[in-house]
C-alpha cells in the first residue's frame, strides 16, 4: 500500500510539472511585461509599466486591435452559423454522400495552417479578394466552423429526437419548431461556439499574415515585432492577447458545461 501511495505522489508531481511546462510561457510573459530589463532574467529588474505605455501610444497596435476585434467577431458569427446548419443537418437527416459532406466541414483543421495560408492567398488573389479584412474573415470562418459544428453537434446529441416530432404533432411547422424548440435548446452550445471560434480567430497568425495585406491583426503585428529580436513590448501585447483569448476559451467552456446542468433540470 505504501508503494502505491508513493507512486501517487510521484505521479502527482509529474502532472504538476507538465502543467508548469504548459503554463510557464504564459506566466513568464505576464511577469516580464512588467519587468524593466530589456533582456529579462532572474533576478528581475524593477517594476515598470513602460512597455504598456509604449504599446498604448502606438497607433499601429490600436489599429491592429480594432482589426482583430472586427475579424474575430465576424468570424465567430459566420462560423457558428455554418456550424449550426451542418450540425443540425447531420443530426436530423440521413442522405447519400453524407461522409464527404461532413468531411467538407471537418477537414480544414487537419491541414497545416501554412498550407491553408498559401492556398487562400493564391485563390483570393486569383478571384480578386486578397488583402482585405473580409479575406481574413472568410478564411478564418473556414478554419473555425468545424469547432462550432463539433460543439453544437454534441449538444444536439443530448436532445431527445422525439422532442422535434412532438412539436410537429402539436401543430408546429418545421420552422416554428426550429425557432421555439431547437434553437432554445442549443443556446448554450451556440454561445460556447461563438466564444471558441472567436478565440481561435483572435489568435490565428499564419493565414492572417498571408491574406491580410496591410490590414494587420494583432498576431500579425506580434509576428512582425518578434522577427529576430527581443522586444519586451511583445510581452505587453502578449499579456493582453492572453487575457482576451483565455477569457473567451473559459467562457466557451463554461457555456459548454452549463448544458449538462441544464439538461438534468429539464
Amino acid at each position: 500500500m505504501n508503494t502505491n501511495r508513493a507512486l501517487n505522489v510521484i505521479l502527482g508531481i509529474y502532472v504538476a510539472l507538465i502543467f508548469a511546462f504548459v503554463f510557464a510561457p504564459i506566466i513568464f510573459s505576464m511577469i516580464f511585461s512588467f519587468n524593466s530589463q530589456r533582456f529579462p532574467t532572474i533576478p528581475l529588474g524593477s517594476f515598470t509599466t513602460e512597455w504598456y505605455a509604449k504599446i498604448l501610444a502606438d497607433p499601429d497596435v490600436w489599429e491592429a486591435a480594432l482589426n482583430s476585434l472586427i475579424v474575430s467577431t465576424c468570424t465567430a458569427l459566420i462560423a457558428t452559423f455554418l456550424g449550426f446548419c451542418t450540425a443540425y443537418s447531420d443530426f436530423r437527416y440521413n442522405f447519400r454522400l453524407k461522409g464527404p459532406y461532413l468531411a467538407l466541414i471537418l477537414l480544414p483543421p487537419t491541414i497545416p495552417l501554412i498550407i491553408m495560408a498559401l492556398a487562400m492567398l493564391a485563390w483570393f488573389s486569383r478571384i480578386g479578394m486578397s488583402g482585405q479584412l473580409y479575406s481574413v474573415i472568410i478564411a478564418h470562418s473556414v478554419l473555425t466552423a468545424p469547432f462550432a459544428m463539433a460543439v453544437i453537434r454534441l449538444r444536439l446529441n443530448q436532445m431527445d429526437p422525439d422532442l422535434e416530432s412532438a412539436a410537429w404533432n402539436l401543430g408546429g411547422s418545421e420552422w416554428q419548431t426550429m425557432r421555439h424548440v431547437i434553437i432554445p435548446f442549443c443556446k448554450p452550445a451556440i454561445a460556447s461556439a461563438l466564444f471558441l471560434t472567436a478565440a481561435v480567430s483572435f489568435d490565428e497568425f499564419a493565414v492572417s499574415w498571408f491574406v491580410s495585406g496591410l490590414n494587420k491583426t494583432l498576431p500579425v503585428i506580434i509576428l512582425e515585432i518578434v522577427q529576430g529580436n527581443i522586444d519586451p513590448q511583445v510581452n505587453a501585447i502578449g499579456t493582453f492577447v492572453f487575457l482576451i483569448s483565455m477569457t473567451l476559451v473559459v467562457l466557451a467552456q463554461i457555456f459548454f458545461a452549463s448544458r449538462q446542468l441544464k439538461s438534468i433540470r429539464t
Partner: protein, 287 residues
C-alpha cells in the same frame, strides 16, 4: 443530384444543408484545388502565368535542399511525436486512473485553455526563457551549471513543438484511457499481472485507437508548424513550412511553394492513412 427523391428534401432541409456546401466549395475546396493547379503554372518576370508545365515539380524534386529539408522535417516531427506521446503518457495515466472524476475534469478544462491560446506569444516567451541569459540558464547557474545554448538548436525546436502539442496529447490520451473498461484492468491486476505489464498488455492495446489518433494529430501539428523551428530552432536547417514561407514571401515563387505544400499534404495523407489503418486493425486472435 445526390439526394434520393421523396426523402425529406424541401426548402427547409436545403436551408440547413446548402450553406456549408457553398461556403466550403468556394473557400476551401477552391483554394486547395487552385493550389494544385498553380503548381503547374509558370513565373516569368515575377508574374505568374497560367500554364501546364512540370517545370516547378522537376525543379523542386531534383534539388538536394528540398529533400534535405523534407527528411529533416519528417524526422523532427516524428521525434516530436514520440517525445510528446511518452512525456504525456504518465500524466494521462495518472489523470485517467489515479485522479477523481472532478480532478480529471478540471485538468482537461485547464489544458484546453493553452491549446486555444496564442501559440505565437507562448513561443516568443520560450525564446526569452531559453536564451543564453534567460531564466533557465540563470537558475542553472545558481547550482553551478551552464550556460547552455538552447536556442537555435533542435532542442529549442522540440520545446516549441511540445508547447504546441502537449496539451492536446495529454487531453486525448486522458480521455481515451479514462473511457476503457476499468474491470479489465482490475482483472489483470487480480490475476497477478505486474503494473508495467498491465500497462503494456492491457491498457495500451485497449486505448490503441485513441493513442494513434493523438499521435497523428501531434505529427500533423509538428510537421506543419513554422514558428518553433523558425524562432527557437533558428531555421538553420529549414523545415518544409519555412521553405514554403521563404519561397512565397521572397521571390514570388508561389508555384514552387505549392509543390512543397502538395508534397506535405501527400505525406500527411499517407501517415494518417497508415495510422488509421493501424488504429482500426483488429488485434490478432480477435473475432
Amino acid at each position: 443530384m445526390p439526394f434520393k427523391p421523396g426523402r425529406n428534401v424541401n426548402l427547409y432541409a436545403l436551408t440547413w444543408r446548402l450553406p456549408i456546401i457553398f461556403w466550403q466549395f468556394v473557400f476551401f475546396v477552391g483554394p486547395v484545388l487552385f493550389m494544385v493547379a498553380m503548381s503547374f503554372f509558370l513565373v516569368k518576370n515575377y508574374r505568374m502565368t497560367e500554364a501546364f508545365e512540370f517545370v516547378n515539380w522537376s525543379r523542386m524534386l531534383s534539388r538536394g535542399y528540398f529533400w534535405d529539408s523534407y527528411w529533416y522535417t519528417v524526422i523532427i516531427a516524428s521525434v516530436s511525436t514520440v517525445c510528446a506521446m511518452c512525456i504525456a503518457f504518465p500524466a494521462a495515466f495518472a489523470l485517467a486512473f489515479r485522479a477523481s472524476e472532478s480532478t480529471r475534469r478540471w485538468a482537461i478544462f485547464l489544458l484546453i485553455i493553452p491549446f486555444f491560446t496564442s501559440y505565437l506569444v507562448r513561443t516568443f516567451s520560450w525564446f526569452v526563457i531559453l536564451s543564453e541569459s534567460g531564466v533557465v540558464n540563470a537558475m542553472l547557474a545558481t547550482i553551478g551549471l551552464g550556460p547552455y545554448t538552447m536556442l537555435n538548436t533542435n532542442f529549442g525546436t522540440l520545446v516549441g513543438y511540445m508547447t504546441l502539442t502537449l496539451p492536446l496529447v495529454v487531453i486525448l490520451q486522458t480521455v481515451t484511457m479514462a473511457n476503457i473498461d476499468k474491470t479489465l484492468v482490475e482483472a489483470a491486476r487480480n490475476l497477478g499481472c505486474s503494473a508495467f505489464r498491465t500497462i503494456w498488455q492491457v491498457i495500451i492495446p485497449l486505448s490503441k485507437t485513441g493513442l494513434i489518433i493523438a499521435a497523428i494529430f501531434c505529427f500533423i501539428l509538428s510537421f506543419g508548424d513554422f514558428v518553433a523551428p523558425f524562432y527557437l530552432g533558428g531555421s538553420q536547417e529549414p523545415t518544409l513550412p519555412i521553405l514554403i514561407l521563404d519561397t512565397t514571401k521572397s521571390g514570388q515563387q508561389w508555384p514552387r511553394a505549392a509543390v512543397v505544400a502538395i508534397m506535405m499534404m501527400l505525406t500527411l495523407f499517407a501517415i494518417a492513412f497508415i495510422g488509421i489503418a493501424l488504429a482500426y486493425r483488429k488485434p490478432k486472435g480477435a473475432k
